[in-house]
Amino acid sequence: MAGLDELTDEARRNTRGRFEQWVKNPQCETNTLSAVLNVKLADVALSLGYQPEYGQSPFAITRGLQFEGWLFKDEAKVIRESMEKVGILEANSSGFLDLRLTMNGGKSIKSVDAALEKSHELLVNLSKDKKFIPTTIIAGLMLKIPKGVMLPEATLIIDVASIQRVDDEWVIRVGEIKVFPDRGGHTDSNEISTARAQAGVYQHALQITVDSLGLTNPPVVSTNGYLVFTWPGTNSPVIRANEDLTYQARRAALGFERLDNLAQELISKKTQNLAEVDLKDWIAHSKTEYKEICWSFCDLAPRCQDLAIADDRAIVLGTEASKLLGSVSVGRAIELLEGVDPKTDVERALQVQLLAAKWETV
């Protein structure tokens, strides 16, 4: 039987992205397997002859790196000023710990293991060394989530975290950095909710990491996080402080648990060793659950739409039509609308609703 432990090291490195991908359509087995097995949907699409469309523009990547570089330049001067202004840090705070890998713009940390070691050291020192004075801002805090969450173990990198002394305890708050412009009340609500959800995953991951260390006097992981956006058209940060991450963290906890169970269940069905399985082929031929939202993240959406079109499924008319028509095909619904005799109770109930809404204009 296959085992999760046989997955590669690389599988541990983009846990958050895979989790967020899965959350978008958890009913889809193909999506779940892609997230669990860490096989990109784009690769599966290619194997089926579909041209993948998604990927980040090189300009967007550069912009993101530049923004982060600007925030953390000169001992994180820019982000510190903003954090002090909105009350995340007290005035005249100091200390910056840069745990970002050199490949991501960091200065000294060259490997994942080194970053993990430094991160671990920080959490332990906060717990046991009374004289320890931590830095107030940490970039790229890296966490190894214990076994049992989605994969044997997984790694998460927190964009930014801050440490404050509150009532004799060290309190860590997590932040999510996005280059997205904050336009006040007009800010894209999807962008805000995505950033908040990601911060929730960090909060949850940090909490279980701290819990798993078994420290005698562990630091408090605050449920209040913050989102760092840009002032439109500039590199100036706009910080949304005091974001309550309680429910997002709970969502992450439940999501990870469910995904973990699904992963175990799906993989246990395989009798072969995973190393011998053609993962792309397995994913490509698993059950799908096509939805409108698939177009926002999945390279297999055109293929699933093709299948839906071939089956004349109601989802081709959209989510609302799909909810109303259920398993009744578009063609059959048109017939029912034209008054043919329904064959089942489901069709009868649908026909009543459709005819009631097919009024003549007055």
Binding site: S57, F59, S236, E292, I309, L354, T361, V362
Partner: protein, 511 residues
Amino acid sequence: MSTRDIVRQLEAAKISQPVPRYSTLHVRLVDNPFMVAFVRMAGESRPWGIVYGRLNDAAPRVLTAGDGRNREAVAEICEEFGVALCQYFRAEGHTFNPITKDNLDTKDLPQIWVPGERHVEMFHHLEYAYWRVRKGDDRTQPLTVLARLSGWIFRESGRTGQQQIIDAARALRDAYAFPADTLSLGNLTTAVAWFKEDGVLPEKRIRVRTAGEQRVSPTLDPGLDKDVLSPLVEQRADLLKAGKSLTLVEQKIHDALGRELMARWNSMVDAYRILANDTRAENIGVEKLVKSTMDKYVVEFQRVERGMLDSSGDPVFTPHPETDFHGSAAAAGYFRMQAADVAYTASLVHDDAELCAEALASGHAFMAEVTDVWNTGVGRVTIPNWQVKVPIGEISRLREGEDYSLVGNPKSKVSVREVEVVDEEHWSVHIEWESPKVRDVSGPISAKPLDSSWIGHRLIFVPCDTSALTAKQAQAVWDAKDGVGAWLTHGRAPVQVEENVIDDITQLQDN
């Protein structure tokens, strides 16, 4: 989405074509509107390229910057675009004949078309980019005027029924039901393809999807960025560093962006033509919406610009792009938006059978049979009263004290005095005519309300346009500043967001 909408989708699927949603068009199609589309570099909010012009121009103007991150180059194209836009809008200071309340004519409605919602947002980004001025700056220079006009366009775009900025994709979605999901119709090329592509389902779906692969949002296809634009921009940077000529590489960038801009432009033109060729008439209520749009333009934009040009030097209120920072301003704005919402359906429903049927089905309107007519006026005063029998619908919102109009008579007003249950299927409703009382109203017959020949006729009553009353509440909010509790409702917000803002110039210097 209602079941009615899904029925329309099924009807569209049956003929493999979009079908009209309503009996009339709810948008004014100006003869030669101004059209604009943007592209921007991924991660940036300012435009990298702009295509603009009038519909009937021989060719639109295509402007691009060599590098979308170069603020001076971007400002240059924005300034040229801004001048053209201000001239088209006959903005104060940009024409000898600005639109004012004295010469306001609905035939002169300035109307701007964009391909989709993200392009509307670009106006907000333009406002953010150029609205700030420092003490002593000339606030009438083109870029700052563009910022204020862009801000006004963006704010106005959210007001129900406005006729000044047309999101082409939305205009098509509002006018037609498509045999497709709503998400895909956010892309204008997809919506247009449903009209242009031949054939029947399901092959047509595939062809429409292929056509929709052409992006129309301001953000470009990452593939194009990666394969074409990124190498060119890098090449440009290298040449710049080496002090060599940029002409050739910038032309290549211009050509690549120009193709994208023209694709957006052509989709917009197609959308306009689809609506212009529609055989449905413009709803008579649209004229009222146009008048309201122009009134707002004069009061909320032109008046501010007039103040800017005034040499008195007094401060002139300029709305902040983010929020109003004032509880009363927010409350007044809320009432104005609510009034627009009420006025929209109330203006259109009298000339649109389908919209009227929708109002009936949703319980906002009611159908009634006149059973009695009498007068409660004393002496020479006439107060017509009717007793009507109303079938109890699945959804009904009929309440005592509410005002309605007889459909087809937008200025008429009746008030519901009493609602009584007659049996399981009917109510008996007493209504009193408030306007008109002695003039004819039209319906199946044309007669005075007091005429007994109305008895036996089945009539439809739709919600009365109470927007004027709601709009008055907006003013009442301001007037309450001297009333009880004003300290609570009229205090100024302590936040001054400007402190968080690093001035563009300062930031450039820091970098």
